[in-house]
């Protein structure tokens, strides 16, 4: 059985995954996404890999390579459909709502005037994000009409076409933290609180200065997190939730979840659990 890991760069997570596989007696072949050359029409050989753990940090490369390898019959975790839905916040919100998962009220506007109309419905403060993006990049809490106009003008003047799709969401009052739950297969293996700090501002992302602490995986958290991936292929996900006054709500699902700050505080070797699952799926 030939297993591989696909990546853009060797992040801390990718190194942990490679090391975990080694400890399990599996040497993962390396697929560096930027070095791949894909022949689409004249395939001369059988698939080179039985399964690929997709860890590309580049969403565009990840989508191309995942689609390509799946077309050869290779198992890719996570699958293309997962990346497509999770990588687009509009699709994620639609699917969460369809699945009956509590999620903040959200609009997508395709032009500034429509974004202002969405703001009139949501009220201030609100949260505005690009539909595609990560690490809380360009995620703004908009407190009033002036701030909205400034953010819209910046995106119109400097943004790429994708950034001119405005995803506007009700602002959820949360207790200075949110939750990341790690779903592996059909199980929630661990969860963390992500706390906002002086450095991160209102944002909780640990890559932006937020801090992590252990969150107990309660029945409620587990059940909600599994429902939040019920419309996705079985795989490995990071579900983001907020504790609102009315209960927990899900606002994002990540298909290439990071975990470097989460294993130490939860005591769960998240990378190893991912590798264990990946190998078991490859053997199915």
């Amino acid at each position: 059985m030939k297993l591989a890991i696909c990546y853009t760069i060797i992040s801390a997570e990718n190194k942990m995954l490679i090391d975990s596989a080694k400890k399990r007696g599996v040497e993962l072949s390396r697929i560096v996404d930027g070095e791949e050359l894909l022949c689409l029409t004249h395939r001369e050989k059988a698939p080179e890999y039985d399964a690929i753990l997709q860890r590309s940090v580049s969403f565009s490369r990840s989508q191309s390579l995942t689609y390509y390898y799946e077309s050869l019959g290779t198992l890719v975790l996570n699958p293309f459909h997962a990346a497509r839905v999770c990588g687009d916040k509009m699709q994620t919100s639609i699917e969460l709502a369809k699945a009956g998962v509590p999620t903040p009220k959200t609009f997508v506007a395709l032009a500034p005037d429509a974004a202002r109309a969405a703001a009139a419905k949501l009220g201030f403060p609100l949260v505005m994000k690009p539909v595609s993006g990560s690490w809380a990049r360009m995620v703004h809490r908009i407190n009033d009409r002036d701030a909205l106009d400034a953010a819209l003008e910046s995106r119109e003047e400097m943004g790429s076409p994708g950034q001119k799709i405005y995803y506007l969401q009700e602002h959820v009052e949360k207790p200075g933290r949110d939750i990341r739950a790690f779903v592996v297969g059909n199980e929630v293996i661990a969860a963390i609180y992500r706390h906002s700090t002086e450095k991160s501002g209102w944002i909780t992302n640990t890559g932006r200065g937020g801090t992590a602490s252990k969150c107990e995986v309660t029945h409620e958290l587990s059940e909600l997190s599994l429902r939040a991936v019920s419309f996705l292929p079985e795989g490995i996900y990071g579900v983001d939730l907020m504790e609102s006054a009315g209960g927990m709500v899900v606002h994002e699902v990540n298909h290439t979840t990071e975990f470097r700050n989460s294993s130490p505080v939860t005591g769960v070797d998240i990378g190893d659990r991912m590798v264990e699952y990946f190998i078991s799926r490859a053997k199915r």
């Binding site: 990546y7 853009t8 760069i9 060797i10 992040s11 990718n14 190194k15 490679i18 090391d19 390396r30 560096v32 940090v57 580049s58 969403f59 565009s60 595609s132 993006g133 990560s134 690490w135 990049r137 790429s160 990071g238 990540n254 298909h255 290439t256 979840t257 990071e258």
Partner: protein, 56 residues
């Protein structure tokens, strides 16, 4: 352990025995973010900047 040269300041940088192609490190002398591009021979290049579509 092998050494590679920083492409920015020409310092000699030690690569760990388990270094991987694609690994990101910082030059201890000039602070430049570097990417391991080759192990044999060891070669470092300036690391790519974060792109708009990077994330989790």
């Amino acid at each position: 352990m092998t050494n590679a040269e920083c492409p920015e300041c020409a310092s000699s940088i030690s690569l760990a025995a388990n270094a991987e192609i694609g690994e990101i490190l910082s030059c201890p002398d000039c602070g430049t973010r570097l990417e391991v591009r080759s192990l044999a021979p060891p070669k470092l290049e300036k690391a790519p900047g974060v792109e708009e579509d990077w994330g989790e």
